[in-house]
Symmetry: none
């Protein structure tokens, strides 16, 4: 087939690349495997991406864009703190079910074959959420809704730590097994129940004084 790649074929390359990188990491992923799975030749990948690195970056961008969008629902409109946290937790669980590979991809980045790239990516990926979460916490502190002695950065950090572990638990093999071990298959599978527990723990952790 020598027709120009359709949009969907191009998208398929990224999709298959995400799966491959998510499963095997940057070094472990093979360009020829990606090409084969996407049903295209190796060569054509190089028409769209200068090299493996650039394809990897495109996969990251795609993943992050998806993740951002999935979660951005949660921050919208005039929600109070418990509503916002609940929304974030729920959206995360939905996104995990829809596209676990994007979260697995994200987890691969954190394994970081290459220190410089890893740091750079950390900056790109983490800064927006860090800023947003810190602002929310600061505001809540000013309003006297939560523990005033908590460092806003640390609070945001702990909160996001729990969110990361949540999506890991619902997208990565190891973390999912770990979830089962800790919570039993029943609780682990019952996402509603899990999100209740999670929201409760977080609000308590932040020292939230209101009702929810």
């Amino acid at each position: 087939m020598l027709k120009k790649l359709t949009e969907s074929q191009q998208a398929l390359i990224i999709d298959k690349a995400v799966l491959e990188f998510a499963e095997k990491g940057y070094k472990g992923a093979g360009l020829s495997t990606i090409a084969k799975n996407a049903g295209v030749s190796v060569g054509v990948i190089y028409k769209y991406y200068a090299d493996k690195e650039e394809l990897f970056r495109a996969c990251i961008s795609k993943s992050i864009a998806y993740l951002d969008e999935a979660i951005s629902y949660a921050g919208r409109e005039g929600k109070d703190l418990p509503e916002m946290i609940r929304a974030l937790v729920d959206q995360t669980l939905i996104a995990c079910r829809e596209r676990p590979e994007y979260f697995r991809m994200y987890h691969q980045i954190t394994t970081g074959d290459d220190a410089e790239r890893t740091k750079e990516l950390a900056g790109i990926i983490e800064k927006p959420a860090a800023k947003a979460y810190k602002a929310v916490i600061k505001k809540a502190q000013e309003e006297g809704l939560i523990d005033g002695e908590l460092d806003a950065g640390a609070g945001a950090f702990f909160f996001d730590n729990l969110m990361m572990m949540l999506h890991n638990a619902y997208s990565c093999t190891y973390y999912n097994e770990r979830l089962n071990i800790y919570c039993g298959k029943r609780l682990a599978a019952g996402e509603k129940k899990m999100s209740d527990q999670m929201v409760r723990f977080i609000l308590n952790g932040l020292g939230y004084k209101g009702k929810y």
Copy 2:
């Protein structure tokens, strides 16, 4: 030199292998680098380990053993809940400073691409702590010290999630950069302050009602 490898030479192979795997990941690690750093020949590694995979697993075992031991101090003796948590946090930070490579190895496991193996490892690694933490939480709930509506498994899970993210933050490139982004270099470096914040958040999260 044709004498059998001494115990310490064998241990050195694992030590250097852990460093290499921790730094470069499974794929990136080079057998010849490990051999050179351990001062042995490449060939002899294959006398002790069938292949790279098996050496990697031995490194994981070593890492887990170290981690278990490092943290087991904390659970001992008659400590109350805040003391125990504080001890765990502090031990973790000490171990991270001493041997970040073991924590990095741990993180590598979570990337595993062989699902069965990964699950098996998760069982081996996570069950003891899961059991211990659940027991502690249940007891504390029975004594009315913490939130009774929290599922003990979920509580233990959230607690350990935070612990994992803590040691990741002090041992892995990505997570350390992330820590800096969230908390700024000052708080990130001041481990005492960080452990205070962490203990506070956890106790609040568990709904601890006492003083600490």
Copy 3:
């Protein structure tokens, strides 16, 4: 654009191909570079030439035609031996300055890895000049103008050898550098001086007894 390639477009393909082959050699030359420089598509080149090899041969033919024409001026009319040699040397230098790529192409032929083809080309290219030069030398010998003991063929050969090395020196990287090494940049750049020296050496070599 779906109109048949104009003559000038076809000529441009060869022109650009000669430049590319001359600069990068057969293997190093890129069809897509040639196509781009000629302002045509890659595909159309395959309408006119079966493959890279055939395009290369067309470039050789073009180059040889140019060289023949460039140098044929020199042999014309009633010149005496020194005048003819001087004319050949000067024409060669002029042609080198105008179109070094054709001389570089010529040099590429001499590298040919297909022995039969190479011999065939040698026949086509060398015979006319060989015949002409031999005739001139024989005539000069009969007239007693030059060394009678010189084999006419060998004399023509040495003369043409010097001519080939001259145009190599003014068209090919290696030979030009070599010229600089031997003669210094001053003499190498002063083509007039060089042609004087060259004519002198050749006439002496042939045992020319007259004035010039």
Copy 4:
């Protein structure tokens, strides 16, 4: 076979590499062909040479060393000018018969895929002979043996040009065919006769006044 390569196997790699580079040029030569012809694995070549470039350089060094040695006989002892030239011509012809591939290799260099490398190599290869020949000519001029108006550099250049063309004629397909065309198979094959003619032309060219 996993024994260390013997000296002769190592030499064979270079030998086969010279043949491959001589036949196909730098770009056209294939590492796997060289390995196969030398009866070794591809990998082992990289134990001895960092990359293709380094192997190529080694081939050049080997070729030049051979050529230098072959020709250095000629310069030795107290020979007068005709003797020295005769010796150079004869040695060249002998070397061409023994090892045409080294001369073919040399010719490949002059084709120069890569301008920078080509210039560098020109310097390395040509400078020694250029210096030596210039010195000989200058001395002969001071002694009044040859044409005083000849630029020493140009004289050395013309002389070496004829030498290069001579070895090309006896080692490269194209030039050999050309030799046949100019001189006929009889003269071309009768090396003795050819060297007589060559010496005669050179001495005449230099304006040598003595007997020979």
